[in-house]
């Protein structure tokens, strides 16, 4: 089996599991300054899947690609701690305010710069937007096959990759030719821990912007160990069209955000049997929903 070149798309997101009282601004938008950030959980699953393939296919390389503000360098460091070969940041103020369309455009410009590649992996969705759109949009723009909701890679050979998808009511086994894009489901194995030696090796990895405020020791270390400097790509580096990125490139406009308290009880699952349909109609009439 020939070695593969894998790109993992990862996002830094607000830590929604540790939300404090001032997590939301009065206007209903997220107060990012008050929230700690984490590696998007589904993306960690994608990273594990990539590292697992690297374990299985000797010589395979994994590159982690993230778009985000300066702090997103944490994502690259985390990737190194867990075993990726390369990390690249797409970071430029002009990318800010992007919706899924602008994000996927930006990522695709970065991916094109990394070509050729065999496999692109990303989490199913990010916990901040929960859209699950970025992965599929990237595949569409790159015009490559996509496999969503991947749980396990069953087989890898020279011409195709066979994966099991986790669907709502079962599983599906599909194969895809290279190159292809997969989004990874949270039911796949959780990501391995950081490796002690990798942490020691890469803990001083810094992006170019971070290095601007670094001390002498760090600067001389980066001179000696160039792998510690995380490449940072700007709009020009990825030859992006400024009308398609950031706020300008985002047709999605948030009109308002409402805080909704869920009051419903348990969900009821109905089958297509006549009894269930009859029962439902009767209930709806009783509640004066219809009739």
């Amino acid at each position: 089996m020939r070695p593969l070149k894998i790109i993992v798309l990862a996002k830094q997101v607000p830590d929604t599991r540790h939300v404090g009282p001032d997590a939301m601004k009065p206007d209903g938008t997220v107060n990012r300054g008050k929230l700690s950030t984490v590696f998007n959980p589904d993306d960690l699953h994608a990273l594990e899947l990539a590292l697992n393939i690297k374990d299985r296919v000797p010589g395979t390389t994994v590159t982690i690609l993230t778009m985000g503000p300066q702090k997103a360098a944490d994502i690259i460091r985390e990737g190194y701690y867990r075993g990726v070969d390369n990390g690249i940041m797409i970071s430029d103020r002009r990318f800010g305010g992007a919706d899924t369309l602008a994000t996927s455009y930006t990522l695709v410009q970065g991916i094109k710069k990394l070509a050729p590649y065999d496999l692109i992996l990303g989490g199913r969705q990010a916990i901040d937007g929960d859209t699950a759109q970025v992965g599929p949009q990237c595949a569409d723009k790159l015009q490559i096959p996509q496999v969503t909701y991947v749980e396990e890679i069953l087989e890898i050979n020279d011409t195709e990759i066979i994966a099991r998808r986790r669907l709502e009511k079962g599983v599906e086994t599909v194969s895809a030719p290279y190159p292809c894009l997969m989004t990874v489901h949270g039911s796949s194995p959780k990501c391995r821990s950081r490796h002690a030696k990798s942490v020691m090796k890469y803990k001083y990895a810094r992006s170019k912007t971070e290095l601007r405020s670094a001390n002498e020791m760090l600067l001389s270390l980066h001179e000696k160990r160039q792998y510690l400097t995380i490449p940072e790509w700007s709009v020009e580096d990825i030859e992006a069209d400024v009308t398609k990125i950031g706020l300008a490139g985002s047709p999605t406009k948030v009109k308002s955000v409402e805080s909704i308290v869920l009051t419903a009880g348990e969900a009821k699952i109905l089958t297509s049997s006549d009894t269930d349909i009859e029962g439902m109609i009767r209930e709806l009439i009783e509640h004066h929903t219809i009739g």
Partner: protein, 582 residues
């Protein structure tokens, strides 16, 4: 994400102790290795930061993998299949998680693939692993054997065996005990014979109660000198499991630490390599190995105690009776607070002891490369002397205390704790072995009493006393009074030159010293961080009355009463004979 390192700020506190500066400097040889290894620290702060980051990995694996697996491991346990020990599924997963994170061979030099960590962060890791699953802590903790190969093996053996720990995740075992050689290891019979034709040592005989006995690499104590019966006829050997010359005859059924396989092994002409010199097996190498293992049991005990305390606290916070949470009853909160202050004290003693061992070992290791300055030599001797009495002290104190803490934790759970529904039932069973293996409390006392008779404990107590600031004057005064009592009463016992009498009181005397030492350590902690103020105050008050009681008992004890305690041997013999006839 839960993390056993992050939820216990004490680890960071103890890593920041001023003495650690000395340890790191010695261990890292002025940070020379950073020129050759991209993962070696650049300076002291870098090293401390690294220890913290690596311990964070351990803490995460403990909380996310090992602790959740502990229950199923306890139920499933290991079994023998085709003469091989198969671990419980959870055990295999636990070990893999630590191996995948590069945490096997933490103390080994980088040259052999290790992380070159001092003992201090390693023992902290051991404490966390034990808190997560005490039985599993044994399997992981047996990487100590690598240290012994490093210390006493030839360069050829180091290169052959050591890289396998971090690279391949091999497991290890110390194979010492036999049916008739438990506490008394001089009685070991397993035979080692040198095959002149093949120029190889062969082992034959039976070993019993061997923790992780089917490990990849075993250190075996065997009798290499024919016609000898004492310690001087014993040597240490390395046996590699790939030779397939040992039968795993039996796995013991046990009260606790069920995930850790306890094996009976039959060596059948098993090929082995001599470690170091012949005849030094027990008197030097096993003693060194046992000292590491004792520190390991100290860490295991503190981990168990912490687990028991947290379970008790959680239960007391959630359980309501008579219209309020049981946490609010004095009888319950007294138990909880006493657990907490004892854990603070034990942990301080554990890391104090570890620091002493670290410094003496680092000097010993440096001696392989260069001649020590006379000042360094005397410092090495000083710390060695302290390590020799503090190690048995922490082993006995922590193991006894963790049993008491587990007992009280179960008590707080009430009837529920007696059932298998809560982790405390397992923790309580797991705690029991700590005061038995690697030398019983009674044997530790024999080693630790030297700290009393030679004055080493008292000398160190005086050092602590001199470090206490005036702000802690009240506690200092109490500790000074306790010290006077200790000094008086130990002198009284020693002066009688009555060995059985000294033996009889030795545990009391050692415990008195231990209480004073831990009292001072908490007061000194409080000088660095006031969060210890409560522990320092309550602990000193508590042990003051404990020491008073011991003092009174010893002071009023009449030596001739020792006779009344004696149980006659003759009677035992008669019974044995009768049984045999029957």
């Amino acid at each position: 994400m839960d993390n056993f390192f992050k939820d216990t700020p004490d680890f960071k506190f103890h890593l920041e102790h001023p003495i650690v500066q000395k340890i790191v400097k010695l261990k890292e040889r002025n940070f020379k290795e950073s020129e050759h290894y991209d993962y070696a620290p650049l300076n002291h702060e870098d090293a401390i930061d690294t220890y913290g980051k690596v311990l964070e990995i351990v803490g995460e694996i403990c909380a996310e993998t090992i602790s959740p697996n502990a229950e199923s491991v306890d139920i499933e346990g290991p079994h023998i299949l085709n003469n091989e020990v198969v671990y419980a599924k959870g055990t295999t997963a636990d070990y893999k998680a630590l191996y995948d994170a590069g945490l096997i061979g933490m103390g080994l030099p980088r040259k052999y693939g290790g992380l070159n960590f001092p003992l201090l962060p390693y023992v902290m890791a051991a404490e966390m692993v034990a808190r997560a699953d005490a039985g599993f802590a044994n399997i992981w903790g047996l990487q100590d054997c690598a240290e012994t190969i490093y210390e006493f093996g030839s360069e050829e053996q180091r290169e052959k065996y050591l890289p396998r720990f971090n690279r391949d995740g091999v497991t290890a075992a110390m194979v010492l005990t036999e049916p008739d050689a438990g506490s008394d290891l001089q009685a070991v019979k397993l035979k080692a014979t040198f095959d002149e034709n093949e120029q190889i040592w062969r082992l034959n005989g039976v070993k019993r109660f061997i923790t992780n006995g089917d490990a990849d690499i075993s250190l075996v104590l065997a009798r290499s000198e024919e016609n000898t019966t004492d310690a001087r006829g014993l040597s240490m050997f390395i046996y590699d499991r790939s030779a397939h010359a040992v039968e795993v005859r039996h796995l013991e059924k046990k009260l606790g630490i069920k995930g850790s396989p306890t094996c009976e092994l039959v060596f059948k002409n098993a090929p082995a390599e001599l470690v170091g010199k012949e005849r030094f097996g027990l008197i030097k190498y096993v003693m060194a190995l046992m000292n590491s293992a004792r520190l390991g049991v100290g860490a295991q005990s503190v981990g168990i105690a912490d687990a028991a305390y947290r379970e008790a606290l959680k239960y007391a916070e959630e359980r309501a009776q008579f219209g309020k949470y049981i946490l609010n009853f004095p009888a319950v909160y007294e138990m909880l607070t006493n657990m907490k202050i004892k854990i603070d004290a034990l942990r301080s003693l554990l890391y104090e002891t570890t620091s002493f061992v670290d410094i003496s070992k680092a000097y010993e290791d440096a001696m392989n490369e260069r001649k020590l300055e006379s000042e360094e030599r005397s410092e090495m001797k000083h710390y060695m002397k302290l390590a020799n009495v503090f190690t048995p002290l922490i082993k006995m104190t922590a193991s006894e205390a963790c049993n008491k803490i587990a007992y009280d934790s179960l008590q707080i759970h009430g009837g529920t704790g007696f059932m298998s529904d809560f982790p405390i039932e397992r923790i309580y069973r797991d705690a029991r072995i700590t005061s038995i293996y690697e030398g019983t409390t009674q044997l530790q006392t024999i080693a630790a009493i030297k700290g009393v008779t030679t004055g080493v404990f008292l000398e160190q107590i005086k050092v602590y006393e001199s470090e206490v600031s005036d702000e802690n004057g009240i506690l200092k005064k109490l500790l000074q009074e306790m010290t006077i009592d200790f000094e008086t009463i130990s002198k009284k016992v020693i002066e009688q030159s009555n060995i059985p009498l000294l033996d009889f009181h030795s545990r009391r005397l050692v415990e008195m010293a231990g209480n004073i030492i831990m009292g001072y350590l908490l007061v000194l902690n409080n000088q660095r961080d006031t969060k210890f103020s409560k522990s320092a105050k309550l602990y000193v008050n508590l042990v003051k009355s404990e020491n008073k009681e011991k003092y009174d008992y010893i002071a009023n004890f009449e030596a001739e009463n020792l006779e009344l305690y004696k149980v006659t041997e003759a009677k035992i013999n008669v019974e044995v004979e009768e049984t045999e006839e029957a």
